[in-house]
Symmetry: C2
Subunit: 249 residues, 2 copies
DNA sequence: AGGACAAAGAATGAATGCAAAATAGCCAAC
DNA sequence: GTTGGCTATTTTGCATTCATTCTTTGTCCT
């Protein structure tokens, strides 16, 4: 047995009240809602080791609250799939198997594919221009081999497409699944292969092209395939890590 | 104001422990998990009027438990989008606006579209045969004008496609959204127009055809359009109700 | 008579308390 | 030296209790 995380395993570093509303309706008011937001970010950011046992009591001390609202928040996070609640044995950060990741990527692919299709129905020229702008910005990052900037801009592009779909329900679901994956992305930033990178740029150009033509069904296909390729790269990277550079912390 | 549901408004009829596991991981063990399953079914089946205020205390009596596990279950249901929690003002069954319904239908369409695409990658001949079987069965219901049987079989077909996608994550998400919509379907069974019915049958034949050919991207398009048409019919029906017959218990 | 204010009652939100289960710690036996 | 069982401590699950907020009702003033 590797270790059942020592008592000092979980650093006592409160996530410090987040600034903006993430996805939930309007939970900010009540204490359990506040806790929910903070704990979600805390988990998503990878502050708790995978599968680590986290005593409620410790979390209570960390957050300065009693167990009741904390337990309520935990139940919600479990429903969201971020953690799992073993009966009588507390909460653990959910371990995503490779299969889980594949499934998640596919669902994300489906949602983005849908977003693209819907976006074509309602997107304005201005929005397309904005995405083009982001695209060029991203291209710049690509040329400068600025991985971080690239990923950031890439994410903004995909979020813009989702936003253009004009579907709040979709947006929330998308954010939820994205959070589950980000949990992993924090520990291992993947998809850093050069070859894949160039490929992704080309795919992004097709995306823009289809978007300009409002070719919904076509864009749907491209987006799905794009995410599928991302998935493959990610899984490969996780299977045999350390491909480019650690660059953690 | 119609009424703030009188004290006797919510019938004291416990949903009586459900038989099978619906979607949650394995919450059946703990009390709050049991409560969660029962309450979810209870709400989905439409036992509580839309927007009705449901005092926790009444639910506690009905379920024979204290407020703590009930409140935990309510938080989860709120996260799932079935109910909403107004701060300091209790839980209400979520009212779905027309826009909400449109959004939900589109997301369902996206998920089924994805399911079809994935199914083409892995579905076996046996599974296709089984779906064909269901299709013929449904055609029988169609010929006999058996609305209930038709819908039941129709649902099984769509579930079979989702199952064939071999993606548990997708399946769970699908079940979640289906539950939100079913909540509405119980109060108003829609899509009963003759014309639409025949159209749906034709679409189902295209679905089968694409599935046989494992034409993923094509099936994806057909399924999306199929659900889109369903959506239109549903919204129309809700806008001008009483089209066919009330048929409410 | 109608509306506004105030106080009582009720309901929600959070904390504490208590019982049951699980973990670990320890001693004895093999 | 290791393994098995027993006890003590910790931790979870749920109930109960306390504080705050909302709702309602009654009264007073215009």
């Amino acid at each position: 047995m590797k270790s059942t995380i020592p008592d000092t395993g979980v650093p006592i570093t409160p996530p410090a009240g987040n600034g903006g509303d993430r996805q939930e309706n309007r939970h900010e008011a009540s204490l359990h809602g506040e806790i929910l937001l903070r704990l979600r970010d805390y988990v998503v950011e990878g502050n708790i080791p995978e599968g680590a046992r986290v005593p409620e009591r410790r979390l209570c001390e960390m957050l300065g609250i009693s167990r009741t609202p904390l337990r309520e928040a935990l139940k919600v996070l479990a429903a969201e799939g971020l953690i799992e609640l073993l009966p009588n044995r507390g909460a653990r950060v959910r371990q995503l198997s490779q299969r889980d990741l594949e499934e998640l990527f596919d669902v994300m692919a489906g949602l983005e594919s849908l977003a693209g299709r819907l976006a074509c129905e309602a997107i304005t020229d201005a929005e397309i221009t904005a995405i083009e702008q982001l695209h060029y910005e991203m291209y710049g990052h690509y040329l400068h081999r600025d991985m971080h900037g690239y990923f950031q801009t890439n994410q903004r592009i995909h979020e813009s497409i989702v936003a253009a779909a004009r579907n709040e329900t979709l947006k929330i679901a998308y954010a939820n699944f994205a959070g589950r994956i980000r949990r992993v992305r924090y520990s291992a930033n993947f998809a850093r292969k050069r070859q894949r990178w160039a490929e992704a740029m080309r795919e992004h150009e097709s995306i823009l092209d289809a978007l300009r033509r409002r070719a919904g069904s076509e864009l749907s296909d491209i987006l799905f395939q794009h995410l599928r390729n991302k998935r493959t790269a990610a899984i490969e990277h996780l299977t045999e890590p350390q491909e480019d550079a650690p660059a953690s912390a």
